[in-house]
């Protein structure tokens, strides 16, 4: 019993690490490789979670319905039920589309201006998205939120063991995204992104359409974050505007990337593990260390501390050699000391 409890806890823990790993990966595409400051991850998180929830949740019976309309019941539609829960893929595609469009719109407006504009605009978008879901009850039930969000492949196992299955789902999605991101950031495309991060004017004088690359990176990052949000919704199965408080939906993710090492995808994942470990581990500590407000404070200190003491994070960026196609031929020479921040 004792062991089963620990195991259950660990499974839950790693599901969250996996989901936050996805956010961290998305942020790495934007900040770590391209130098785009997204201060409103929560916006993409919420869009992803709400999009999938609205598309897949069955409509509630009349007694429960107050004044909101559900968008769809993808999971319950018979012609999509091919025994393999195909709706899940479809829903993720929709999430990608929605987040991609929003990222495109924000990027169009701000990416030609200096970096701070993007930060402020994303901050605003996150708040606007939250306000919309909070106030427009007809969209998503306002502050009461959406519940009974369906489980992917939920009929394969008993509800008690579902978390084991979902951990596998999260890890598979994470692995796919990791490989996909790893491949592009090590490709010439990623090379251009890093060039933009280092010196925009020089990248331009090398004939690169800086704006277009920034836009692509911002959209890709936004889509990945949206997918993270979708997985979160199917894991927790209940979302409301409170879920997307900037602390757990934006700041923690920043702390993860900065701690793990921005510009390094393995660092992004390591950071998710370390910071989530600290976050969920401290609740077992005695006295005020368990106080969520103390943890809140520590997240801020952690971000400032990393910037001050070890700007590269734990892993830091690895030096790449010239042959950079695919993951197999990519071998870091050695951990490079950064010449300059």
């Amino acid at each position: 019993m004792e062991l089963a409890g620990v195991l259950n806890y660990l499974v839950g823990f790693f599901i969250m690490v996996g989901i936050y790993g996805i956010f961290s990966l998305g942020l790495n595409v934007q900040w770590g490789f391209t130098g785009l400051f997204n201060a409103g991850i929560a916006g993409f998180f919420a869009l992803g979670a709400y999009t999938t929830a609205l598309l897949t949740t069955p409509a509630p019976d009349a007694a429960q319905v107050e004044d909101f309309i559900f968008g769809g019941n993808l999971a319950g539609l018979p012609y999509l039920d091919w025994g393999i829960d195909f709706w899940f893929i479809l829903s993720l595609a929709a999430v990608a589309l929605v987040c991609g469009i929003v990222a495109y719109a924000v990027g169009r407006l701000t990416l030609r201006l200096s970096g701070d504009y993007l930060a402020i605009a994303t901050l605003g978008i996150a708040e606007a998205v939250r306000l919309m879901f909070l106030n427009e009850k007809w969209i998503a039930n306002g502050s009461k939120g959406l519940y009974r969000i369906p489980e992917f492949l939920g009929d394969l196992v008993s509800p008690a063991n579902y978390d084991y299955l979902f951990l596998v789902v999260v890890l598979v999605v994470l692995a796919l995204l990791y490989l996909a991101v790893q491949r592009v950031v090590n490709s010439p495309w990623g090379r251009v992104l890093r060039a933009i991060r280092e010196d925009e004017v020089a990248a331009q004088s090398s004939g690169k359409d800086v704006y277009s690359f920034k836009l692509q990176a911002f959209i890709l990052g936004g889509i990945i974050m949206g997918i993270g949000g979708a997985l979160y919704a199917h894991h927790v199965r209940f979302i409301s505007p409170i879920t997307f408080d900037p602390l757990l939906a934006t700041f923690v993710i920043w702390a993860m990337l900065m701690v793990g090492g921005s510009g390094n995808n393995r660092g992004a994942l390591l950071g998710a593990f370390v910071v989530w470990g600290i976050w969920s581990g401290t609740q077992f500590l005695p006295w005020f260390f368990a106080d969520p407000n103390f943890r809140f404070f520590m997240i801020g200190v952690l971000i400032v501390g990393v910037i001050l003491i070890r700007p590269g994070g734990i892993l830091g960026e690895t030096r790449r050699v010239s042959r950079v196609v695919g993951a197999s031929s990519h071998t870091p020479v050695k951990e490079g000391g950064n010449p300059k921040e």
């Binding site: 130098g35 400051f37 201060a39 407006l109 701000t110 030609r112 201006l113 200096s114 970096g115 701070d116 504009y117 930060a119 402020i120 605009a121 901050l123 605003g124 978008i125 708040e127 606007a128 306000l131 919309m132 909070l134 106030n135 900037p246 602390l247 700041f251 920043w254 005020f288 106080d291 407000n293 103390f294 943890r295 809140f296 404070f297 520590m298 997240i299 801020g300 200190v301 952690l302 971000i303 400032v304 910037i307 001050l308 700007p311 300059k340 921040e341």
Partner: protein, 351 residues
Amino acid sequence: MTRPLETRLSPLSRLAGPIRRQWSPGHTTVAIVLAALAIGLLPFVHMGLVVNGVFLGAIIALGAVGLTLIYGILHFANFAHGDYMTMGAYVALFLTASFFPWLGVTSDGFGPFTFGFTLLIALPVAAIVVIAGAILLDRFVYRRLRDRGVSDLFMSMSSMGVAIALRGLVQMIWGGDIETYPRESKQVFHLPMDVRIPPDAIFIALMAVALVVTVYLVLTRTRIGKAMRATADNPELALVSGIGTRGVTWWTWGIGAALAATAGVLLAVFQGQLLPIMGWKFLIPVFSAVILGGIGNPYGALAAAFAIGVTSEVSTQWMNPSYKPAVAFAMMIAVLLIRPKGLFTMAGSGR
């Protein structure tokens, strides 16, 4: 000094008129009042909302003027500015609700206002605490980053970390629940056109006007104020003129933090409550005012703050009031679409 130079004068005086005129708070205030009246007199707009918007705008202005100064002189977006506001509000709370009562001094309902006279003492103390905090943070965080020559974006990011830490600190000390200053309900003033003004709002407006005028006088009349503008204009020339960077930096933080702390207290009075997240939420209207007014331009920020205050209040006539920050944000987006450098940027401001 011997030769007559008259013959060689170049005809500069003809051009001088329109370019020289800078926006002063006087001009801005007159323009705002006229504009607000004009909007309020529209038949479909509720005058009371316009008046309310002016008060909200006054608070936004306090935040935005400080933030835009920091932006102009230290060159980064201070995401902790909202939390400096929160800090100010909570320090005043500690003084009025705990410290003064402990000393045996309690007060609420001072004169026509809901709050006690202790708040008037608490306000400058809170400002001093926040100033000290801001300067300490500069000494131990931002100065180290500047010395290392990190990019402006890294500075902004560390300010975000500072913002989170400050809010965590507030929550650790005071908890996350709604608090209020010791208060007593008061009659509101009734004016024509169905305008009701709570007396507190008049206090807010007077404080805001007094502070903004003070900042204007500091910037235009005092040695250090001119040095701040000079440093924003041309840091290298400021150095060779003997203007030390450290003094200017401290003054910038000092003025910014004092305005922020006051804005925080006034916001808490205006809303009748304190919440740890109040400052962070207020960042959106404040940043919108900064961008709308042209980054680094205090006069622009001032005018934009009132525009945002009035617009977002008036919008509640048709929209859910909780959309107010979204309205401010939408105005910022509209400006980014039309004039990315802000509405009030002056030609040749050298940036």
